[in-house]
C-alpha cells in the first residue's frame, strides 16, 4: 500500500520522455495512466528508481482520422474510446471492448497504450486489437516504427516495445460496412479480468459466405493471439453450419493458463464456447 521511493520526472513531449528513458536506462519506467504499474508499486513488486510521467503529453491523448485510418493516441482512456463517436462508427468492436474493461474508475484512468504495452494475458483490449488488425506505433530515440498487432505480443507480458521506447499510438483501418462483430468475455469473478475474452469480426460476401474472419482471443494463453485455425475453418463458408466446427479449434496449439479460477481444460472449453457464441453474434449482425 506504500510504494518505495523513486524520483519523479514529468515529460512534456515524447522526445523528452525518450531522452529521460535513455538517461535512466533499466531503472526508468514509463507512467501513463498508472493502472498497471501503480498497483505493482503499491505491493512493492515493482520498485522503479525513476518514473517518467508521460501523462501530460497532450498529443498522445487524442483520437483522429488520417489517411483513411482511425488513430488513437496511447494516452486515450478506455472511457474516451468507449464514448468516441468516431470509434463507435468505424471501430464498433473497440468501443464495445473498451466498455467492459475493468470498471468505471479504471476506464476513466487506464489508457490504451498502457494496456497494450503491459500486455496482461487477461487484458481485454489485445483481443480486439488483434481482430481489428491494429497497427502499433512505437517511438525510440532512433525514430519510430510500426508493428502489426499480430507481431506485437511476444510472450507473457512481453511485447515488441523495447526498453527505452514509448508506445505512442494505435492505428486501425475502419471496419467494413456490413461487418458483424462482438467482444464477449467471461469475467473472472473477483478481478473482472477476462478468464477468456473473444473478439470476433466477420464479413459476408454476396452469397452470404464469410469472406473475412478475424478472431482474437485473450485470457487463454500466456499471450493474446489470433485464432487462425478458427478463421481458416470458417473462411469461404456460410456461417450457420460452419461456426460450431470452426470454434472447436479456438484453443488449438495453445498451452492454456491455469489458476484457482479455471483449470487449463476449462479455459480451453470456455474459449471454444465463447468463440462459437461470439461468431454467432457477429454473423447475426453481419450484412451480406
Amino acid at each position: 500500500m506504500f510504494p518505495a521511493s523513486f524520483e519523479y520526472h514529468r515529460a512534456s513531449s515524447v522526445k523528452e520522455a525518450l531522452a529521460m528513458l535513455q538517461q535512466y536506462g533499466e531503472d526508468g519506467k514509463i507512467l501513463a495512466g498508472g493502472h498497471s504499474l501503480i498497483p505493482m508499486m503499491k505491493l512493492r513488486l515493482a520498485q522503479p528508481a525513476h518514473l517518467v510521467d508521460i501523462g501530460g503529453i497532450r498529443q498522445l491523448a487524442s483520437i483522429r482520422e488520417e489517411g483513411g485510418k482511425v488513430i488513437i493516441g496511447g494516452l486515450v482512456t478506455h472511457h474516451a474510446v468507449e464514448r468516441s463517436d468516431v470509434v463507435r462508427a468505424k471501430l464498433g468492436m473497440l468501443s464495445e471492448c473498451a466498455a467492459v474493461i475493468g470498471d468505471t474508475q479504471v476506464r476513466n484512468r487506464g489508457t490504451i497504450g498502457g494496456s497494450l504495452a503491459h500486455a496482461d494475458p487477461a487484458a481485454d483490449y489485445p483481443a480486439a486489437v488483434l481482430a481489428l488488425d491494429g497497427e502499433i506505433k512505437i517511438e525510440g530515440t532512433g525514430g519510430s516504427r510500426v508493428v502489426k498487432a499480430d507481431d506485437f505480443f511476444i510472450d507473457l507480458m512481453t511485447t515488441a516495445v523495447q526498453p527505452g521506447e514509448v508506445l505512442t499510438e494505435v492505428a486501425f483501418a475502419p471496419v467494413a460496412s456490413g461487418a458483424g462483430f462482438t467482444y464477449l468475455k467471461h469475467r473472472q469473478p473477483a478481478s473482472g479480468f477476462a478468464m477468456v475474452g473473444v473478439a470476433a469480426l466477420l464479413t459476408l460476401d454476396k452469397k452470404g459466405n464469410c469472406d473475412r474472419v478475424r478472431v482474437g482471443i485473450t485470457g487463454l494463453g500466456a499471450k493474446p493471439f489470433r485464432a487462425k485455425a478458427v478463421e481458416a475453418a470458417l473462411l469461404g463458408k456460410a456461417p450457420a453450419p460452419a461456426i460450431a466446427a470452426a470454434a472447436a479449434h479456438a484453443a488449438d496449439g495453445i498451452d492454456p493458463l491455469s489458476d484457482i479460477h479455471a483449470s487449463a481444460d476449462f479455459r480451453a472449453e470456455l474459449a471454444r464456447v465463447y468463440t462459437r457464441r461470439a461468431l454467432e453474434t457477429a454473423a447475426a449482425r453481419a450484412k451480406a
Binding site: 500500500m1 506504500f2 518505495a4 469473478p189 473477483a190 484457482i260 483449470s263 476449462f266 472449453e269
Partner: protein
C-alpha cells in the same frame, strides 16, 4: 403543539447516516493524534518454518524509524493472544512469532516510524533466516500419523475431540428404510469487512491511562483481555470502538496487534497506529466455516427422517483465537434444523493446520448446521422421488409443539415453519415455476428451484452458553439518563457497526417516554463512558441489548411517575408518557409537561420521600433462553450447461424475526445476509496451496460478490413474537446468511437433476458445475 408520532414499526431514516454520507464519521484510521507514529508488521512468507535468526540492525538504522522489534523482544512483556473457549490443547500464541512460524501471515517483527511509508521501508531491510518445515493444510491429512506437527508439545495436531453419543440413533438406523450417507464441506471463508482491522493506542504516562481505539465488536471484552495481556488494571484502560466498518464476527476477537500497539505506545510514550492492509486481512484476520461433515441419515420411504449421525472434522488453523474451538458446537446442536428429528448424535474432531485460525463468521456454526439439515431434506427427497417441499412439511416441528425441545438439547422458543414455507412458495408461484421448469427442460434449458427452511439461534444468550473463561456472560447492559433539559442519553453495552441501534434504540425510548426521536442520543463503544457491556455478535444487539434498555426505561419511568404522582396528586400507576407530558391514562388532557418532572428531579427543591435526585437508571439483562428466528428462502436459477454459469431468475425470502421494530433496517440486514450466503454458495473460498501459501490473498482472487453477481431479493415476513423477551424480538443479523446458502445450492442441484447430479461441494463455481455435467454425460 404538534403531536409526537410513534416510531417503533415505522420505516425510519437512520440516525447514524448524516455523518456517514458526508464523510465525517470517524473510523480508526481517521484518528489523528499529535506525535502519532505508524506501526507496520512484517509477516511470515512461510506456512511453517523455524526462525533461525532475525537481523533488525539495518531496519533500526533507517532515518525516521523509531523502533523495530521481533517476538523475542516481547517475551515476558506482552502476554499471549487469548483463547477463552475450552479445548484439550491450547497452544501458547505469542503476539509476534517466537522461534517458529506456523502460518503465512503470522507476525514476525514490527517497525515503528514517523510514517507508514518509512515503516514499510524498514520492513524491507529486515533479514529473517528461516528454516522451512513441511506444512499441512488439509485437516484430515493433519490427523494422519507422520503429518507435520504444528505444536510439538502436544505430539499431534488434535485440538480437541468432542462427542455427543446417543444410542437411539443406532436403533433408528436399524429401522430405517434407507440410510443416506454423504460428505459435506462448508468451505473456508474470509469475512472481509470493507474496513480492515486497525488499532491506535495512546499511553498517558502522567495519568497512567491507556486509551485504545480499535475496530472491534467487543470494546469491553477487549479491555478485559488487554488488561491481562499488558498487566494494566482495567480501570486504567479505555477502549473506544469508533465507527466500525463492518465486522461479521471477525472483529469479535482479540488480536495480537491490539496489544502490540498498546505495548509500543507504553514503551515509546507516543501514540502508535497500526492499520491492517487487505493482504494482512486475508492472511491474518480470522476466517470462518471450514468444516467437513460425514453424515448418516436414517429415513423412511414417506420422507420422514428418524435420525442423523455426524462426524465433523473442523479446521481450527494454526492457533486458537478468542472463540475458535467453540464455534463448531453450534453446528452440531442445530443440525436438526426446523425438523422433529428424534435422534441425533455427533462427534467433532478439531484440528490444527498451517493456516489462519477460524472463528466466528456471520452465523458462526449455524450456517453449517442449516446447510447440513437442508441438504439432508433434499437428499431424502431425491432418494424417494418426493417433492422437496413435501419432505420439509413432513418433518417440520408443528407450531403446536412450541416451546419445542430438540434432539440437540435446545428449546426453540416459538415458530410456525409451515406458514413461512407456504408463504414463500405462494410468492414464488411454486406450481407455476415447476411447470416452467418442465417446459424449459424440454428446450434443453436447466432451471432449478431451491428451497431452504431455516431456524437459527440468536440473542446469545444465557450466560451459561458462553465459555467460562470469558470475562462477561451472555447478558447485556443499558443506562438511560434523562438530562436536565429533557433530552435523553442512552448508553448501551452493545457495539453496533452498521446494525443501526442508534436508531432502533432511539425509536424504543422515544415511544416509551413520549418524546421525539431527535431528543434521544444513543452512545456506545467507549468503555470510559458506557458501563460494562458484552458487545455486538450473534444477532444479540436488539435481542439482548433491547430488553436491557427496556429494563432501564422501566426504572426511569417508575421514578418519573413517582415524582409526577406527587405533583399531580394521582396514583403513579395511572400515569402514562405521551407527547412530552406525563398524563393521566384515562384522560391524557390532564397532564404536566415532562420538563416539570425533570426539573423536580434535578432541582430537588422539594425533596420527594423515597426518591433520590437525578434521573438515570442502569440495568443488566440476563436472557433466560436464546431466540430462534426462522424462515424459508426460495431461489429460482438457470444453469448454463456449456459454461456452468448460474444465473438467478428469482429470489424470495420469507423471514420471521419476531416483532419488527425497524422494517427498513430489518430489510437491510436480510439483504446483506442473503448476499453473504449466496457468496458462500457460489463464489467465495479461501484457498491455500499444498505448501500453505495463501492463494486468495487479495480481492483480485477472492470473489466478494459485486452488484451484478447478486439477484434482486423479494422479501416478505411472518411475525411470530418471541416469548423470551419483553420486545418479542428474535434477531435478524445472521438469518439471511443462514437461509440463503443451502437455498442456492438446492436450486442448482435441482437444475442439474436431469443429469443425475445430486451434490457438488461449494462454492458452485462454473468450472465445478461444468465438470460435474461433463462427467455425468460421459458416464451416462
Amino acid at each position: 403543539m404538534a403531536v409526537i408520532p410513534k416510531f417503533v414499526g415505522e420505516r425510519i431514516k437512520r440516525r447514524e447516516d448524516p455523518r456517514l454520507i458526508t464523510g465525517t464519521g470517524m473510523y480508526v484510521d481517521d484518528v489523528r493524534l499529535p506525535g502519532m507514529l505508524s506501526a507496520v508488521v512484517l509477516r511470515s512468507p512461510h506456512a511453517h518454518a523455524k526462525i533461525n535468526s532475525i537481523d533488525l540492525s539495518k531496519a533500526r538504522a533507517l532515518k525516521g524509524v523509531v523502533c523495530v522489534l521481533s517476538g523475542d523482544d516481547l517475551r515476558d512483556k506482552v502476554g499471549p493472544v487469548p483463547c477463552v473457549a475450552p479445548a484439550d490443547h491450547v497452544p501458547y500464541h505469542p503476539v509476534l512469532a517466537q522461534g517458529k512460524v506456523r502460518f503465512v501471515g503470522e507476525g514476525v517483527a514490527v517497525a515503528v516510524a514517523s510514517s507508514p511509508y518509512i515503516a514499510q521501508d524498514a520492513l524491507d531491510l529486515i533479514d529473517v533466516d528461516y528454516d522451512p518445515l513441511d506444512a499441512v493444510v488439509d485437516p484430515e491429512k493433519a490427523l494422519e500419523p507422520g503429518a507435520p506437527v504444528l505444536h510439538e508439545e502436544f505430539g499431534n495436531n488434535s485440538v480437541t475431540f468432542a462427542s455427543v453419543p446417543n444410542p437411539a440413533v443406532d436403533e433408528a438406523m436399524r429401522k430405517a428404510d434407507k440410510i443416506i450417507k454423504a460428505r459435506l464441506v462448508n468451505q473456508r471463508l474470509a469475512p472481509i469487512p470493507m474496513e480492515p482491522r486497525g488499532a491506535v493506542a495512546r499511553w498517558d504516562g502522567g495519568y497512567k491511562q491507556l486509551t485504545v481505539w480499535s475496530s472491534t465488536q467487543i470494546p469491553h471484552l477487549l479491555r478485559s483481555q488487554l488488561a491481562e495481556m499488558l498487566k494494566v488494571g482495567e480501570n486504567r484502560i479505555r477502549v473506544i470502538a469508533p465507527e466500525v466498518g463492518g465486522g461479521f464476527g471477525c472483529k469479535l476477537n482479540v488480536y495480537a496487534e491490539e496489544a502490540l500497539v498498546a505495548h509500543l505506545s507504553m514503551t515509546l510514550g507516543k501514540p502508535v497506529k497500526w492499520i491492517e492492509r487487505r493482504r494482512e486481512n486475508f492472511a491474518g484476520t480470522t476466517h470462518g466455516r471450514d468444516q467437513i461433515t460425514y453424515l448418516e441419515v436414517a429415513a423412511l420411504k414417506d420422507g420422514t427422517v428418524t435420525a442423523v449421525k455426524a462426524h465433523f472434522v473442523c479446521d481450527m488453523g494454526a492457533y486458537l483465537q478468542l472463540l475458535t474451538p467453540a464455534i463448531p458446537g453450534f453446528s452440531g446442536l442445530m443440525m436438526t434444523g426446523c425438523y422433529k428429528i428424534p435422534a441425533l448424535s455427533f462427534d467433532q474432531q478439531m484440528v490444527f493446520t498451517n493456516k489462519m485460525s477460524t472463528d466466528a463468521y456471520r452465523g458462526a456454526g449455524r450456517p453449517e448446521a442449516c446447510y447440513i439439515a437442508e441438504r439432508v431434506m433434499d437428499m431424502v427427497a431425491a432418494e424417494f422421488g418426493l417433492d422437496p417441499a413435501d419432505v420439509r412439511r413432513k418433518n417440520f416441528i408443528p407450531k403446536e409443539a412450541f416451546p419445542a425441545p430438540t434432539a440437540g438439547g435446545l428449546v426453540y422458543d416459538s415458530g410456525d415453519y409451515e406458514l413461512s414455507l407456504n408463504k414463500a412458495l405462494e410468492i414464488v408461484g411454486y406450481q407455476k415455476v415447476r411447470a416452467e421448469q418442465e417446459a424449459a427442460r424440454k428446450q434443453g434449458r436447466y432451471i432449478g428451484i431451491g428451497i431452504a427452511s431455516y431456524v437459527e439461534i440468536c440473542g446469545i444468550g444465557p450466560s451459561a452458553l458462553l465459555p467460562p473463561k470469558l470475562k462477561g456472560g451472555g447478558w447485556e447492559s443499558a443506562t438511560i439518563r434523562m438530562e436536565p433539559d429533557c433530552k435523553v442519553t442512552v448508553l448501551t453495552g452493545v457495539s453496533p457497526h452498521g446494525q443501526g441501534q442508534e436508531t432502533t434504540f432511539a425509536q424504543i425510548v422515544a415511544d416509551e417516554l413520549g418524546i421525539d426521536i431527535d431528543d434521544v442520543n444513543v452512545v456506545h463503544g467507549d468503555t470510559a463512558v458506557v458501563q460494562y457491556g458484552i458487545g455486538t455478535f450473534g444477532s444479540r444487539g436488539t435481542t439482548v441489548g433491547g430488553p436491557a434498555l427496556m429494563m432501564s426505561v422501566g426504572k426511569l419511568q417508575e421514578k418519573m411517575k413517582k415524582i409526577a404522582s406527587t405533583m399531580m396528586e394521582v396514583p403513579p400507576d395511572q400515569l402514562i408518557f405521551t407527547n412530552r407530558t406525563v398524563a393521566l391514562a384515562s384522560d391524557p388532557s390532564k397532564s404536566i409537561p415532562l420538563q416539570q418532572v425533570v426539573d423536580a428531579a434535578y432541582g430537588y427543591k422539594q425533596p420527594i420521600p423515597g426518591v433520590e435526585p437525578g434521573l438515570d437508571a442502569t440495568s443488566f439483562y440476563e436472557p433466560q433462553n436464546c431466540t430462534f428466528p426462522f424462515g424459508t428462502h426460495v431461489a429460482v436459477v438457470e444453469v448454463d450447461p456449456e459454461t456452468g454459469v448460474v444465473k438467478f431468475l428469482r429470489y424470495v425470502a420469507v423471514d420471521d424475526c419476531g416483532r419488527i421494530l425497524s422494517p427498513l433496517l430489518v430489510e437491510g440486514q436480510v439483504h446483506g445476509g442473503i448476499a453473504q450466503g449466496i457468496a458462500q454458495a457460489l463464489y467465495e473460498e479461501v484457498v491455500y496451496d499444498e505448501s500453505g501459501q495463501l492463494l486468495t490473498a487479495t480481492l483480485m482472487d477472492y470473489a466478494v460478490p459485486k452488484a451484478h453477481m447478486l439477484p434482486r431479493y423479494e422479501l416478505s415476513a411472518t411475525v411470530t413474537p418471541s416469548p423470551v423477551n419483553v420486545l418479542g424480538v428474535k434477531g435478524v443479523g445472521e438469518a439471511g446468511t443462514i437461509g440463503s446458502t443451502p437455498c442456492v445450492v438446492s436450486a442448482v442441484m435441482d437444475a442439474l437433476k436431469p443429469f443425475g447430479i445430486r451434490h457438488i461441494d461449494m462454492p458452485l463455481k462454473p468450472e465445478k458445475v461444468w465438470r460435474a455435467i461433463r462427467d455425468a454425460q460421459q458416464k451416462g
